[in-house]
């Protein structure tokens, strides 16, 4: 049986939608961060899939994914640092109540 690109793309799409749903609905900032990672990974997967199926003799998609993973790691570190600092100052991490930066 031939494995088509669509077999990879559908799980990737499901992952992305889960991430989006989590990002929009979860109140906890850490949960939002996890959702964000999920979306990012879905996108990374797409890069790899398209690279493999459209341009198999090239490696740009792979390399791009590696970069994205590295950057996501750094970004997560920064995000966690922010969350910890927020928690220290207001003792909670609920985004709905953290609206002091409006206007």
């Amino acid at each position: 049986m031939e494995i088509k690109a669509i077999y990879y793309l559908i799980p990737s799409l499901i992952m992305f939608c889960c991430g989006l749903y989590g990002f929009l609905t979860r109140r906890n900032m850490i949960a939002m961060l996890i959702s964000l990672e999920l979306m990012l990974n879905a996108v990374d997967m797409n890069f790899v899939i398209f690279n493999r199926f459209l341009f198999p003799e090239q490696l740009e998609g792979m390399m791009f994914t590696l970069f994205a993973i590295a950057i996501a790691a750094a970004e997560t570190a920064v995000a966690i640092a922010i969350i910890i600092n927020v928690y220290r100052s207001v003792n909670q991490v609920d985004v709905r109540t953290l609206n002091q930066m409006k206007f």
Partner: protein
């Protein structure tokens, strides 16, 4: 002649102004006063040296072989260059009248500096607040006035003209805590500024058509029939002759452009010299300290207008109309001011109106001067009167200052009978009165007689008119004299001193000026000053007929004043009751101030300015305000979009992205 001394003449007062202005507070009052006086004394010596050098050295630069006095430019530094020919320079100009003015200004200024050492303190010898500031301002004034008279071009004159206006403003408002002084200084500033607007426009018109500011070029205008007017350097570009033909030719509203320019320039002179209808500031300017009135508002600054006309006299000669205007304005002002002076109570106001009247004499004299009558006698007479008037009017003002200092009031009603208490003041004041009334042999007799001769040559009407004014002059001066020094003296209140003569610093200037007033008439003025530089002996033109008539008029007026005012009697009261309207009008200065108040407040402020202010506040500001309000409202509306809810932003982002995507897809299909 080297430029060192002329530069010093200007630099010392300027330095004194800056030095006393900045460092005055750090030194004692007396030191500041003495430094200022010494500085002025130095300038006095230098100016005398310069003037004597100019008149007597016989240097071919100053006097031609035929004995004509020449214009001489000591130095002339380009300051602003507009075009090749239109250049504003700053320099030092010597000719008969500027040399004469150097003497007048430095003499009076030095006397006033000395006098103020005594005047500007109270009876216990405590100096007034701001004593150093007073001396700094006096130095500033002396600097500006000297700069004005030695100006080489009309623009330099304008610059210093404004500077004397500014220093006059500062000195009138010297007692800045006194309301009347503050409003008087504002009035003087605004009225003269209004006149200077005309002056500036006149300068611009004149320079536009002639292409030059230089007095040398402007006054070298060739008058038909006159061979060599001023001997000038004809190397000035494009011989000035053509310039004047072109400037006199264009017509504007029935008069040549040159006439307009000259009349506008004369308007500046009217403001400074307090000619009607711009005279209203001068009587109020008496709110300043009395030495200031003597220096600025009697002897020097107020004659700047006469000096201006005299300076441009060859130009005025070209346009008969402008000279007629000068004559008419002068004649009306002279009579008006003399009438008003008869009915004032404040002695300084009497002197102020007398000043206006005497300056008007000089103006009339310039206005009636024609080269064909006695080599332009009027011009010389005007300058002669300027000289003698400066001396005796300064004397009268300083005498009035001594009285005010002794009595503590400006009104003659508080004085009476002071001749026993203050003999020095009495005798010097009497000499001043005799001089201004024109009694032989005091200086006023000669100068006034010459003016009357010039008027007589010009027209009998002007002659009769001015003789009448001369009679009035004698009358009001002696009225003042008797009211101050005669009548029964007031009782001296318990615990007060009797009034007495003041310190030597105040008496000495009085005596010196009185001496000058006694002998100045014998100066052969025609030898030094004449309209075209040619010396002549005016005694050759001395008309004993005119002289005896004017003497008779003056004596009659004095006798009338003696009858009415020597002792307290009912005559003045009867006279006043017989003509109540005349007294009222004279006493209220013919209601000129009220007229000005009506025009400015009722018509201009209420009628024009208020609607304009309303328009500005409601229409112009309102438009701008409505823009602001609109923007504000709009931002209030969209502000809630920034809710601070991160997930809301994400929703909006996603919806926006989907919409964009949808639109793109739709477009592609």
């Amino acid at each position: 002649m080297s430029a060192t001394i002329p530069v010093l003449i200007l630099a010392i007062p300027l330095f004194m102004f800056i030095f006393l202005g900045l460092a005055g507070k750090k030194m004692s009052h007396l030191l500041a006063g003495i430094l200022g006086t010494l500085g002025m004394g130095t300038v006095l010596v230098l100016a005398y040296y310069t003037a004597f050098h100019y008149f007597f050295s016989g240097d071919p630069a100053f006097i031609s072989e035929a004995g004509e006095r020449l214009q001489y430019i000591v130095f002339n530094q380009t300051w602003l260059q507009f075009t090749d020919r239109l250049v504003i320079s700053l320099g030092f100009f010597l000719d008969p009248i500027s040399a004469m003015m150097l003497v007048v200004i430095t003499t009076i200024s030095f006397m006033v500096h000395l006098y103020s050492l005594g005047y500007m303190r109270d009876h216990h010898g405590v100096f007034e607040k701001g004593f150093q500031r007073f001396y700094a301002f006096l130095s500033l004034f002396s600097f500006s006035m000297l700069g004005l008279v030695v100006a080489t071009n009309i623009f330099q004159m304008y610059i210093f003209w404004e500077l004397v206006g500014a220093s006059s403003y500062l000195l009138i408002g010297f007692y800045y805590t006194k309301n009347s002084a503050v409003s008087a200084s504002k009035k003087a500033f605004i009225v003269t500024r209004f006149a200077d607007l005309g002056f500036l426009i006149g300068i611009l018109v004149l320079s536009f058509y002639t292409g030059t500011f230089d007095f040398t070029s402007l006054t070298s205008v060739p008058v038909e029939g006159m061979a060599n007017v001023y001997h000038v350097d004809l190397s000035t570009p494009n011989a000035v002759l053509g310039v004047f033909q072109s400037s006199a030719a264009p017509m504007f509203m029935g008069a040549s452009v040159l006439t307009w320019a000259l009349v506008l320039i004369f308007m500046g002179g009217m403001g400074k010299s307090a000619m009607m209808p711009l005279h209203i500031w001068l009587p109020d300017a008496m709110e300043g300290p009395t030495p200031v009135s003597a220096l600025i508002h009697a002897a020097t600054m107020v004659v700047a207008g006469v000096y201006l006309v005299a300076r441009l006299f060859p130009l005025y000669l070209m346009e008969e109309t402008s000279l007629v205007i000068v004559t008419v304005v002068g004649a009306i002002t002279a009579f008006y001011a003399a009438m008003v002076a008869c009915a004032q109570i404040d002695i300084k106001r009497v002197l102020a109106f007398s000043t206006i009247s005497q300056i008007a004499f000089m103006m009339v004299s310039l206005g009636v001067a024609r080269p064909e009558f006695h080599e332009g006698l009027g011009y010389m007479a005007s300058m002669f009167h300027l000289f003698t008037h400066a001396m005796f009017k300064a004397l009268l003002f300083l005498g009035a200052g001594a009285l005010i200092h002794a009595i503590g009031s400006n009104d003659y009603t508080a004085m009476h009978g002071l001749r026993k208490y203050m003999p020095v003041t009495h005798w010097t004041f009497l000499i001043g009165c005799l001089a201004i009334a024109g009694i032989i042999p005091f200086s006023g007799f000669f100068s006034k007689d010459e003016i009357l001769s010039a008027c007589g040559n010009y027209s009998p009407l002007v002659y009769v008119w001015m003789s009448m004014v001369a009679g009035l002059t004698a009358f009001y001066m002696f009225r003042l004299y008797y009211l101050i020094f005669w009548w029964k003296e007031h009782k001296i209140p318990e615990g007060h001193h009797a009034p007495h003569d003041q310190a030597w610093t105040m008496s000495l200037p009085l005596i010196i000026l009185a001496l000058i007033s006694c002998v100045a008439g014998f100066i052969p003025f025609g030898k030094f000053v004449s309209w075209n530089g040619e010396p002549y002996d005016f005694m050759a033109h001395f008309d004993w007929g005119v002289a005896s008539i004017s003497l008779l008029v003056a004596v009659l007026a004095i006798i009338l004043a003696t009858v009415m005012y020597r002792k307290e009697n009912s005559l003045p009261e009867k006279f006043k009751n017989a003509l109540p309207a005349l007294w009222d009008w004279c006493h209220h200065r013919f209601y000129w101030d009220e007229l000005y108040m009506f025009i400015t407040h009722k018509i201009i402020f209420n009628g024009i300015c208020r609607p304009l202010a309303w328009f500005d506040r409601h229409i112009i500001d309102g438009t701008m305000d409505s823009f602001a309000i609109l923007t504000n409202k709009a931002s209030e509306l969209i502000r809630p979009l920034q809710s601070g809810q991160v997930q809301m932003y994400v929703w909006i982002y996603i919806i926006g992205a989907l919409l964009l995507g949808g639109v793109t897809v739709l477009c592609l299909i």
